[in-house]
């Protein structure tokens, strides 16, 4: 064990002081890593193992397949809450995927200092600064029937109808989501050597081609990370559903994440096993697909600079 690039040999340290240093290093490493690793073991490893076991237990703790069977029964009902949640989650996930290239384009124009870029950067980042409670309240006021009437539109209950509630929340997410990963993408672009872009310019490349043929390949390392993390979070995709939910079952805006939240918070301990069993089904279906996609993503060569 040694510190990276250590020049212990160069320093011609005696064997005993080398041993002492190694011991100090060991103590240092253990002291830093012990708490995070313990946390990981309890709240990731143990929590997931327990979740797996709970899927095959009753709320009383008895081993049983009843919970798992009831989950499959739920999946058989096409209009069940869990199916609505799956459908909505898929919509949000696709939206997130489609927005990713759009985010790169936005970050590109800010990186290339479009006029007023400093102001735009701040305003685009504003929704991330302000509580979702504030933003959603303002948005809800603007799509309320009274406001729509004030604006000269038909006074529709957009958030109370199943056919318009989720599309309205999707519009909200897209409207606010321009700044998605703006900092990280901007950071990645700032690391691109300016000479590379300059030489491409000398070869006559224009803006669209620069984005497609220079920026995207050069950012692939960062973008692939986002893609992998996005795939990992596929079952958690969604908007601030809790803030939009108003107790009206006609909304049909639930997502998997919100379904889990609702069960844990409002149904309580009696629903824990159902949540674990449903989660296990999603995990079993999702993991192989996502690992396969991850492999594909990783096969695309990255550019080092």
């Amino acid at each position: 064990m040694k510190a990276e690039n250590s020049s212990a040999k160069k320093q011609n340290l005696s064997a005993s002081s080398g041993k002492k240093n190694r011991l100090i290093d060991k103590i240092f490493i253990v002291s830093i890593l012990i708490l995070p690793i313990t946390y990981f073991l309890i709240f990731w490893l143990y929590a997931n193992l327990q979740s797996f076991m709970m899927a095959f237990q009753l709320p009383t703790g008895e081993w049983s397949l009843v919970t798992m069977k009831s989950v499959f029964e739920n999946f058989k009902q096409k209009d069940s809450n869990i199916w609505i949640s799956v459908r909505n989650t898929s919509l949000y996930f696709v939206k997130d995927l489609l927005l990713m290239p759009f985010h790169v384009v936005i970050a590109y124009f800010l990186f290339r200092k479009v006029r007023g870029y400093k102001v735009f950067q701040v305003i685009l980042y504003l929704p991330a600064m302000v509580s979702g409670v504030v933003v959603v309240t303002a948005f809800k006021a603007f799509v309320s029937p009274d406001m729509l009437r004030s604006l000269g539109f038909e006074a529709l209950e957009l958030l109370n109808r199943s056919d318009t509630a989720t599309p309205t929340i999707l519009v909200y997410s897209i409207w606010l989501g321009w700044a998605g990963n703006m900092l990280l993408l901007g950071g990645a672009m700032a690391r691109i050597p300016v000479e590379v872009l300059e030489s491409a310019r000398l070869d006559g490349i224009n803006t669209p081609r620069e984005i497609v043929y220079m920026i995207f390949p050069l950012l692939w390392n960062t973008l692939s990370t986002f893609l992998i993390l996005q795939l990992t979070g596929i079952f958690g995709a969604g908007g601030p559903i809790l803030l939009f939910a108003n107790g009206n079952p006609n909304q049909k805006i639930s997502t998997i994440g919100y379904w889990i939240f609702e069960k844990i918070k409002y149904t309580g301990a009696s629903a824990y096993n159902e949540v674990s069993a449903t989660g296990l089904v999603f995990t079993v279906v999702g993991v192989p697909i996502i690992l396969f996609l991850r492999r594909l993503i990783e096969k695309v060569p990255t550019v080092d600079y």
Binding site: A3, I24, P36, S131, A141, S224, I260, I264, S276
Partner: protein
């Protein structure tokens, strides 16, 4: 021919490539400017409307046919009312109580979330030891494999460990030194030269000296960015508090739960929302350049 090439070269390199937009580029950048401007206006309008509505009297707001109408007078009484009347209806926490909860929650959450991954990122990137690759692989695996539904067992665990609905849960949660932030720190420390540390070693400095006197100061800009963004996120957080710490409502939680009680006096409620925005906006206005400091993330291969 040579002349043309020379001319072209001068044309491009005499200006900064980042700011010089010529020919068709000008059109692209003008279109982009217009789109950005329109979108930014659309983002600001709701906040302005909310602020103006907070200056209306309740009756004026409720009876108006036109919600976009300007307030008849600029009455700041709603702001005084917000301090006095807004409370968390579930726990009966006052406005000031909620502000107090927001403060300690924000500092604890943001402080731990920026500090712990920094330590793990440093050790994992700069020290070679047995099990290092294994730990790294497990961490990456845990980040890239979607395990769903463990929320229920985590909640059960919180109950078992008596962490549910206590501030200690926050402290324990802050011990997590892995995740996305870890990856950023890991990549950052990988790029930091070890030569200063070697000089410190020659002077008899131990690993803690190197960490606190040489490495952490270099990571301060990133730590600052993470602290600020984390603090803003924690100030605005509501879902995890509703779920795990319902007896400690922050301002965001209180305003969320109070919503259904506010129907008859929306202007006061809007005043409360405007007040809740002030700290984050002040922080953002003060440190926006720091927050916008380049943060980069590397690949997840490993």
């Amino acid at each position: 021919m040579e002349k043309t090439i020379k001319k072209k070269k001068i044309k491009v390199s005499d200006g900064n490539i980042m700011t010089t937009h010529k020919g068709a580029d000008k059109i692209y950048f003008t279109v982009a400017f217009v789109i950005f401007a329109v979108h930014c206006i659309s983002l600001i309008v709701p906040y302005v409307w909310m602020f103006l509505s907070s200056l209306k009297e309740a009756q004026e707001y409720n009876l108006s046919d036109n919600l976009l109408a300007l307030p008849q007078g600029f009455d700041i009484q709603n702001y005084a009312n917000a301090f006095q009347n807004l409370y968390d209806p579930v726990t009966n926490t006052t406005f000031f109580g909620m502000v107090g909860n927001s403060l300690w929650y924000t500092f604890l959450q943001a402080g731990l979330a920026c500090f712990m991954p920094c330590l793990t990122g440093y050790v994992m990137s700069k020290y070679r030891f047995k099990g290092r690759e294994f730990i790294y692989a497990v961490v990456i695996f845990s980040m890239t494999v979607p395990i769903v539904g463990s929320g229920a067992s985590t909640m059960k665990l919180f109950h078992t460990l008596n962490l549910y609905d206590t501030p200690v849960r926050l402290l324990v949660g802050g011990l997590s030194g892995f995740g996305g932030t870890f990856i950023v720190y890991y990549g950052f420390f990988k790029g930091v030269s070890w030569s200063y540390a070697e000089a410190a070693q020659i002077d008899g400095g131990g690993p803690y000296t190197i960490l606190f006197k040489i490495m952490l100061p270099q990571a301060l800009p990133i730590m600052m960015t993470y602290f600020l963004t984390g603090a803003i996120g924690a100030w605005n957080e509501y879902e995890s508090i509703i779920l795990y710490m319902p007896s400690f409502p922050t301002l965001a939680v209180g305003l969320f739960t109070y919503q259904s009680y506010a129907r008859n006096d929306m202007p006061t409620y809007y005043a409360g929302l405007v007040i809740s925005m002030i700290p984050t906006l002040v922080v953002f206005a003060t440190f926006s350049s720091k927050i916008m400091t380049s943060v980069s993330i590397g690949g997840l291969k490993g």
